[in-house]
Symmetry: C2
Subunit: 334 residues, 2 copies
């Protein structure tokens, strides 16, 4: 008899993230089916249980008591949630959308908080769509799991069990569940994901203006900072525009640092002392926190994230999540 | 009897670049010796012909009619050239310094143009010093080779032969000689190397302000754009400050793009259409020019730089170099 670690999983949207999730759940012998607007044929040909009929898929999710994973772009989330309300009115819901505050607003508008735990796997490549999806995408990645509902003291046993399931979902595909409230999530990803995307686009333009010669002379530093500019513009817009409230102040911080550097480089004598030294110190602090040990000879991949074992619903568990959040740590649920 | 492709090579300064050059020349059975202020003992222990006595090394270069490679930081170039003038007054000179205009000014001040061809291998890592040097660093890298003296119509047979030697030096260590005049070099590297360093420092600061949580959620885009912030601040300052004249206008271009994106992201509705689409187009243009073919199944590494075979000193050779330069191409000398 097969034992499953998870309830049936119904994925709505089978692009890079949704598709890779379906592949990983399949090789872990979990029950998984899904809906996709584009690429259903390709996914079926690859042997997956996929339909392009949203209503049918949602009715099946309701009948199977499946966990619904919303994996569509932000712009489509509202309409998907409306259909979930119509055709799968009792299913639990999670998502993998790159911003969490806007999704949560839509959840609250529909009074779905009691059956929703937000998620965001910090994984991706510069490619998109089902054809780009692949096994192992989430290995070692952080998987942000939101817990605002519990922080507000509203979580009942059902919600605690759902939180457990979402953490397990991350774990089954090799990711690490990092608890985080929606507002902190959005500010953090503005800093470490959306700003780098803005930078990649702008740097590509500046490099391109240098023509073939400049590209011929470019090396690792340029490649590293521009790689994600190959991402579909629609996807970049989606991430950055939907998180504009958090991204604009972060962009202001960045521009201010560049302007200060510009001023001191234009001085006589030119200086970049301040930025070079403080930037390097910041880098070293981050590396120390990450505990990236080049000299490690252990063949076992050790996570650099501190771990806390948490029993969702047990006394004090929300305070535990707050502690883990402040450390950027991961939870293991039991 | 051993045949050498190159004259004896005397490297002054054995950090990452100078040290790696010494290692590669050694495994290619070329004659190479050098001077270094730091790490001479370590290099000797590793079996290399290294001294910390500059005068001695230069007198030997003069006796051996060696090609001198100046591989010290920009700040030390003037004093090194003065010592070359004193102790190796007839030796030919090249260099591997990351800016070319300032070096050329010092060369002209000392009336050394007739025996100088500038160079700059576009290779490096975030590490520095002899201990970071290693074989193979230059494999496939562009090696900028300057030719202003020839553009001014001043090149005699001696200079043409020196140009040939410097291109061969690049080739012996696996690099590709890309001809470029000093001013274009400095503008190009400001775009594709020095600006990415400035960005890496500033982005590290913005990421660090997000604390452990932000780092825990960071992934490839952040890592790619901050990696070079681990470079010694002194080296970053050296590159950026000595190229400030070219870097400041490039930084202005970049800041202007960010400010426009900031404004349209702060609009209602937030938009990043312009930057996302133009940045992606720029990226795709660059990728097309580079001809990076993911689908290639050939085991032979094919350079993406167009090649032109040039016989330095032959009629029309300078025009050929100008053509190659405009394409970011490489020259093969014969």
């Amino acid at each position: 008899m097969t034992t499953y670690q998870l309830p049936p999983i119904c994925i709505l949207g089978l692009g890079l993230i949704g598709g890779s999730l379906m592949r990983d759940l399949t090789i872990s012998n979990e029950r998984v089916f899904g809906y996709t607007m584009h690429g259903a044929r390709a996914a079926q040909r690859d042997g997956f249980d996929v339909s392009d009929n949203m209503e049918e898929v949602l009715r099946r999710a309701e009948a199977d008591n499946a966990l619904i994973v919303v994996a569509v772009p932000m712009a489509a989330v509202a309409s998907v949630l409306d259909q979930v309300a119509s055709f799968a009115p009792t299913c639990d819901i999670t998502d993998v959308v790159s911003v969490k505050e806007r999704v949560y607003d839509l959840i609250v508008e529909r009074d779905m908080q009691g059956r929703y735990v937000g998620g965001h796997p910090m994984a991706g490549t510069e490619f998109s769509g089902w054809s780009a999806s692949h096994e192992g995408l989430f290995e070692g990645a952080a998987w942000a799991v939101t817990y605002d509902y519990a922080r507000e003291g509203l979580a009942d046993d059902h919600w605690a069990a759902l939180f457990t399931t979402v953490c397990r979902l991350a774990s089954v595909v090799g990711a690490e569940a990092v608890p985080v409230r929606v507002s902190l999530h959005d500010e953090s990803v503005a800093r470490v994901s959306h700003l780098p995307h803005v930078i990649a686009e702008a740097l590509s333009l500046v490099g391109d203006r240098g023509g073939t010669l400049a590209q011929s002379l470019s090396a690792g530093s340029f490649r590293g900072a521009t790689r994600v500019a190959s991402t579909e513009p629609e996807l970049v817009r989606n991430m950055c525009e939907t998180n504009a409230d958090s991204l604009v102040p972060v962009l202001d911080e960045f521009i201010e640092l560049l302007q200060a550097a510009r001023a001191s480089l234009a001085d006589d004598p030119a200086s970049m002392k301040q930025l070079a030294e403080s930037g390097n110190r910041a880098y070293l602090r981050m590396a120390a926190r990450k505990g990236a040990r080049r000299e490690s000879v252990s063949p076992v991949k050790i996570s650099s994230r501190p771990v806390m074992r948490v029993h969702p619903g047990a006394p004090g568990w929300v305070r535990q999540l707050e502690q883990v959040e402040s450390l950027g740590g991961r939870v293991e649920v039991f």
